[in-house]
Symmetry: C2
Subunit: 121 residues, 2 copies
DNA sequence: CTGTATCCTAAAGGATACTG
DNA sequence: CAGTATCCTTTAGGATACAG
């Protein structure tokens, strides 16, 4: 099937689960892109290190976010059996490939926030 | 304090409104990327044409989405004073520049949904 | 044709306390 | 160190009806 002109593959006819929606479900959560970015930058991180890096997220929300990201095959969880137990979170291949998306978002966001700088309000 | 690897400008210290969050606030809404994509593809569109294109969205949600996108300077609304009144929605420059983001999202999403292909349908 | 007005449900996120 | 358990508030989104 040729997709001429359907570059975005959203011309679906009846259901609403296209690529864009799939990506939005991940990258649109408030903390998800932040988590992905930190894992891209600082490699595997433990729970608390990640929490420090993300800065502002609560235990509960980080925990839930990580669960969600694991279910979606974005993040991998490795238990390292020391005493006390350590855990390492890292990106799966799909997580790694999100770099292009979060980079595009970050670049756009930087320009956008800068546009006349209303932050001075 | 060295910020090695602060490429993503998210190492903020206290508030949580970085570029990523700004982008996520737009592109993470269920219908926003869809709307942007349709406007990128089919140029200015009227309310009902847009509704047809997006396919599945309700009046209320489309209306609210467009309000939000206008406030965020992504979409421009032009009233064309015919009888009956027509309205054209188009992208602002910031809306246009979102193309890189939605394209990255769509490409990633396509690969992702394809990874074992659960949507053979 | 271009929306508003209600009403309702589900999901996201935050605060705080507690546990293996 | 790595989470759970509650409880609560806000927001997104859907259904349906009505209006300029």
């Amino acid at each position: 099937m040729d997709r001429t002109g359907d570059e975005y593959s959203v011309g679906n006819g009846g259901h609403d689960m296209g690529p864009l929606t799939a990506a939005a479900a991940i990258v649109g959560k408030k903390w998800h892109p932040r988590i992905v970015v930190e894992l891209l930058r600082d490699g595997p991180l433990g729970f608390n290190d990640l929490k420090e890096s993300v800065d502002g997220i609560s235990d509960k929300v980080l925990s839930e976010s990580l669960d969600d990201l694991q279910e979606r095959d974005i993040v991998h969880r490795t238990v390292i059996d020391d005493k006390p137990v350590r855990v390492e979170y890292s990106l799966t291949e799909w997580g790694e490939e999100l770099e292009q998306v979060v980079t595009a978002m970050d670049e756009w966001g930087t320009r956008y926030l800068d546009r006349t700088d209303e932050s001075a309000e």
